[in-house]
Symmetry: C2
Subunit: 122 residues, 2 copies
DNA sequence: CAATATTTCTACACGTTGTAGAACTTCAAG
DNA sequence: CTTGAAGTTCTACAACGTGTAGAAATATTG
């Protein structure tokens, strides 16, 4: 699972916020409105299409080829994706428990409470 | 915090296994012995030095410039490093708790037990 | 000092990402 | 059907990171 570039990331963020599939043109408009794009020339649609293709190849995005302006949607939710990334990072460690210990030591108290709840029963 | 390439990773793995600072030449030898290097020409020591410099720039490695063949050591333990990476991934999520929920749902029962212990008191 | 070991510089190939024009395809209006 | 607009795919290139290492500079040691 490769890591995302800035634009790919921005596109994914938009797709994650949009439950319904969305067109490349809409995405371009949304991208133009985002903070980091102020005072920059709006992206060409082809640019957006290129990153969408790449994201599709990475299996992060799915497209409806049926509807004419193709519509794109994220394959997984951001939470799922992020959790997968975390597991991927953790997975490569031979000392998983030590990692978890460090990790736990850093989350906020509120989150620790959430974790306790999630782990609750046993 | 950038992500590591294969060789950078291999070097870090060796440094993490070696508590004492170690020279580039030793590292080259160790690298030649590792599984993925069988039937490959051994790396040039300059190659190892290059990646060590890059790792130093990334603040993952520290070198003793005092001793003549410089000696290198990892700045943090692998567990620390991995935990930091996990936090970095998690940090970029606006829905941290949802991510944690997914995450918890995937760790093994043994690890869940460890987590409970770590979160133990409340 | 001269030979040798070590380190730093410089270089290049290859893959990824941002970026977009050119060329091709499809669809709707006439 | 034809044609033009809208949409999609191809092709390209620059910038950057990484693997790789020779050349050049520097330090050690005999």
């Amino acid at each position: 699972m490769a890591t995302l570039g800035d634009l790919e990331r921005a596109v994914m963020d938009l797709l994650w916020e949009h439950p319904e599939a969305i067109t490349a043109n809409s995405l371009r408009d949304l991208l133009s409105g985002r903070p980091s794009a102020t005072d920059t020339r709006p992206l060409a649609v082809t640019t957006v299409l290129t990153v969408l293709s790449r994201l599709e190849k990475k299996a992060l995005v799915e497209r409806e080829r049926s509807s004419r302006p193709h519509r794109y949607r994220a394959v997984t939710s951001r939470a799922e994706h992020t959790a997968e990334l975390m597991l991927e990072v953790l997975g490569s460690a031979p000392d998983r428990e030590a990692v978890l210990a460090r990790f736990i030591g850093t989350v906020s108290e509120g989150e620790a409470a959430t974790l306790r709840k999630l782990l609750g029963h046993d």
